[in-house]
């Protein structure tokens, strides 16, 4: 056996070790306490059962109430029914802020956000659609002609005084068509939500919790990308960056008319605060049913031991701290962002800057620590 020299034994040992590593996986070694929080399946189940589906269910309650108030208003447009409609609209719009981030699975399939909350509302487009009851509601041009922003315009923006608004629904030549358009909008919102919630309660929930990988089609991967995108484009940019001119300005002018709930005015901060809090709660895995924290981005990052190498502070704590700073900034603002932009835009820009820091952490630190991939293409390590 002359060929069995020491080099052989070393090499065979190396190969054997790799074989053992391979083989060990088959034996049940998952009892290590460190391993459990890294199991993504319980996290996906918690998201689906205790956060996403209950959030949509809660939103459905408010949307149903708004639809009822809208129906009452359409049956009898008075200052009372208008006022009730508005209240129900505010409640539903606020509750919407807790589900807008879930643009994965059915939410993504139906691109529900496009039909619920693209603002500023397109006034001319809405007028055109009122006149044409068969106009296509599904095309991109129709996005700002429906959903909460269109309703905002229709119940808050047609005139200054309530009496003048009511004229549009009673004596105006196109009153009936306008009322019909309100119904078209609420019907469409109900249909879309029914589809999305129906799929979550149906087969998609199972699909969601079984795609446990971290590639681009996995549930965690989709969620990370949807979540970071939402925080960046729909909280930071939509609610703050665009109106304040932090993102765009032409010849130095800002865009206060692009705030959320522009016609209602005094709820823009409430909407932003609610959306931000919902994003923070999702990060921490706060159950919508029990308000207790469950498996989440936070617990997963902690289990990965993601931290600042120089100070030892956990990445999740750094992100939560930045969320708090941003939230505190939002709370200093006027309830009416239109007014805030006009009176003291610097406060808007300061808030934007803090949100921006959180965006970077979510898009870079969190995504990188979790090793979420963004494309299917080959990659040999950046």
């Amino acid at each position: 056996m002359s060929f069995l020299n020491r080099k052989h034994i070393g090499l065979a040992g190396f190969i054997g070790l790799m074989g053992i590593v391979w083989a060990c996986g088959s034996s049940d070694s998952g009892t290590d306490p460190v391993a459990d929080p890294l199991d993504r399946k319980p996290m996906l189940e918690h998201w689906a059962d205790n956060i996403i589906i209950p959030s949509y269910t809660n939103f459905k309650v408010k949307l149903d109430a708004m639809t009822a108030a809208s129906d009452a208003f359409r049956a009898n447009p008075t200052t009372t029914t208008l006022s009730d409609f508005r209240t129900a609209w505010v409640n539903a719009y606020t509750e919407w802020q807790k589900v807008e981030m879930f643009e994965v699975g059915p939410g993504d399939k139906y691109t529900i956000r496009n039909f619920f909350n693209i603002y500023p509302a397109d006034e001319a487009g809405i007028a055109e659609y009122i006149a044409n009851p068969t106009a296509n509601m599904a095309v991109p041009a129709a996005y700002p002609r429906q959903g909460f922003p269109a309703l905002d315009y229709l119940i808050n923006g047609l005139a200054e005084a309530d009496e003048d608004i009511l004229v549009y629904y009673t004596t105006d030549a196109s009153a009936a068509q306008r009322l019909a358009y309100v119904k078209r909008i609420t019907d469409r919102m109900n249909d879309l939500l029914a589809s999305v919630l129906g799929e979550w309660k149906g087969d998609y929930r199972e699909t969601f919790v079984t795609k446990t990988g971290l590639d681009i089609s996995s549930s965690t991967g989709l969620m990370v990308n949807a979540y970071a995108l939402y925080y960046e484009r729909f909280i930071r940019s939509g609610k703050f960056g665009i109106p304040s001119g932090a993102l765009t300005s032409t010849g130095g002018t800002k865009h206060p008319e692009k705030v959320e709930a522009y016609y209602k005015r005094d709820i823009s901060r409430t909407l932003a605060e609610t959306a931000h809090q919902a994003a923070v709660n999702f990060f921490n895995g706060v159950s919508v049913l029990t308000a207790q924290e469950g498996p989440s981005f936070k617990s997963y990052l902690d289990a990965l031991d993601a931290k600042d190498g120089s100070t030892g502070t956990a990445l999740s704590a750094i992100i939560d701290a930045q969320f708090s700073v941003a939230d505190a900034k939002i709370k200093t603002l006027s309830v009416d962002f239109y007014e805030q932009v006009q009176a003291n835009n610097q406060a808007m820009l300061d808030t934007y800057a803090e949100l921006q820091k959180a965006v970077r952490m979510l898009k870079v630190d969190m995504t990188s620590a979790m090793s979420v991939t963004i494309t299917y293409t080959d990659n040999d390590g950046d």
């Binding site: 080099k7 190969i15 083989a23 300005s249 032409t250 600042d308 293409t377 040999d380």
Partner: protein, 450 residues
């Protein structure tokens, strides 16, 4: 001098090179088919609005719908190389088309594409069609059972260079002392069957890191030695299959598994050819004949091969000419066999302004694909190229001499993110060159080693 001449005049069996030619051609054909059927020609080379060319190769661009033809040429050339049909024309076409594809967009840069390009370049100079080829079947005068030994050795040496540099690149503190980036990547696969649960353990990341480094550094030498070769080849298969299972590296593992066959002795390859001949029912060539370079060709070819190897030895070391950490600046990073070394993620938000008070924060998604954006956000040369794309675009939109700034944030191997580019630098004023980019902020950390 005499020993060199004696070495150059030595000949060896043509079988290993023939088998290599067939296997390599088949692998490339499969690669192109896979690429095509995944729809990547469209998503990577037709859909994007902008591309990231290599410095000095700005004229290399996708050809619109004709890009399919380019891939068609590449596939056909690979097939012809495998068959040994019109070999010289085929291998030149393969080298040119494959390299052209590789140069069209930096965002798709992969070390294994570069490896393939370089092997094609080598094969242009080698008489790989003298044995077991359609060319030799059609034209008896081409037949050669033996070829200059240097033709096999140059491939072996090149593969050794690749492995050793890949191994040296892993001799750094992130890889060996912190098990980065495997520590980040492995738990992402903890839902895999069999080995999944193990991947959560830090020791496994360390084991893979050290194992991978030792593998790269040692495997070529174990492959060279007759006594260790069979074991080494088993290790090659295990290692590359494992990496194929864990990482999205496409055909690379299989190409390396096939390439390593070049280390096996002539008899091994002659047996393969005998078996293949049986399948194709072709006759075994009778007489033994030796392919020899003409005196001029010999000088030219051996000179070219030597120059090739010298360049290959030097190129991965060029990073030493730049200040700063190569993982951070990526100056001298590519074409150096640095594979799977970094988990690098970035955020790059560009602001374009002008004197008239116009200002826009760019949504990268309107200009770049997700892959391009991801690559651009971590690589300073791509950030600069994109800044010039934006400068031109907004100048056309009516901005007067637009200035371009970037808010960048980059995380490397588990460190928290930090700005990579000086946010005060107007990138529209910067130009690409081989010089160090002074606007890249210092890394302020130390990755020891290569």
């Amino acid at each position: 001098m005499q020993t060199i001449e004696r070495y150059i005049s030595k000949s060896t069996s043509a079988a290993p090179l023939a088998v290599f030619r067939v296997a390599f051609g088949v692998m490339l054909l499969l690669s192109v088919i896979r690429f095509w059927s995944n729809g990547w020609i469209k998503t990577l080379y037709i859909d994007p609005k902008y591309f990231f060319p290599f410095y000095g190769f700005e004229f290399v661009k996708p050809l619109g719908a004709y890009t399919y033809a380019l891939f068609g040429v590449c596939a056909l050339a690979a097939l012809f190389v495998a068959l040994g049909l019109f070999y010289r024309a085929a291998i030149i076409s393969l080298f040119v088309s494959f390299t052209y594809i590789e140069l069209m967009d930096k965002s798709t840069y992969l070390n294994h594409y570069y490896f393939v390009s370089m092997v094609c370049l080598l094969l242009i100079f080698l008489p790989a069609n003298g044995c077991f080829s359609v060319d030799a079947w059609r034209n008896k005068s081409l037949r050669a059972t033996h070829i200059p030994r240097v033709c096999i050795d140059v491939l072996k040496v090149f593969v050794c260079i690749v492995y050793v540099y890949a191994g040296l690149a892993k001799v750094n503190s992130d890889w060996l002392l912190h098990a980065q980036p495997l520590r980040i990547w492995l738990p992402a696969h903890n839902d895999m069957p069999l080995i999944g649960p193990l991947l959560n353990y830090t020791w496994v990341a360390f084991f893979f890191s050290w194992g991978g480094c030792l593998y790269d550094l040692c495997i070529p030498f174990f492959l060279l030695k007759k006594t260790t070769r069979p074991y080494a080849y088993v290790a090659v298969i295990v290692f590359h299959v494992l990496t194929a299972a864990l990482f999205p590296i496409g055909m690379f593992p299989y190409i390396m598994i096939v390439t390593a066959l070049i280390f096996f002795p002539a008899e091994f390859h002659e047996t393969i050819i005998r078996h293949l001949r049986k399948i194709f029912g072709s006759a075994t060539s009778d007489a033994s004949s030796v392919y020899r370079f003409s005196p001029i060709a010999s000088k030219f070819t051996t000179g070219a091969l030597a120059a090739f190897l010298v360049i290959q030895l030097a190129l991965p070391l060029r990073y030493l000419l730049y200040p700063g950490e190569v993982f951070w600046t990526e100056e001298g990073y590519r074409f150096s066999w640095r594979v799977m070394l970094m988990e690098k993620a970035g955020f790059a938000e560009f602001t374009v302004k002008d004197e008239a008070g116009n200002r826009v924060v760019v949504n990268n998604k309107t200009f770049l694909t997700p892959l391009q954006e991801k690559m651009m956000a971590t690589q300073p040369d791509m950030i600069l190229h994109y800044a010039h794309v934006l400068e031109a675009y907004f100048a056309e939109q009516g901005f007067q001499s637009p200035r371009v700034y970037v808010d960048s944030y980059v995380a490397l191997n588990g460190r928290l993110g930090k700005p990579m580019v000086d946010p005060a630098t107007d990138l529209s004023k910067q130009t690409e060159s081989f010089h160090h980019k002074s606007w890249v902020l210092p890394f302020n950390d130390d990755i020891k080693g290569f």
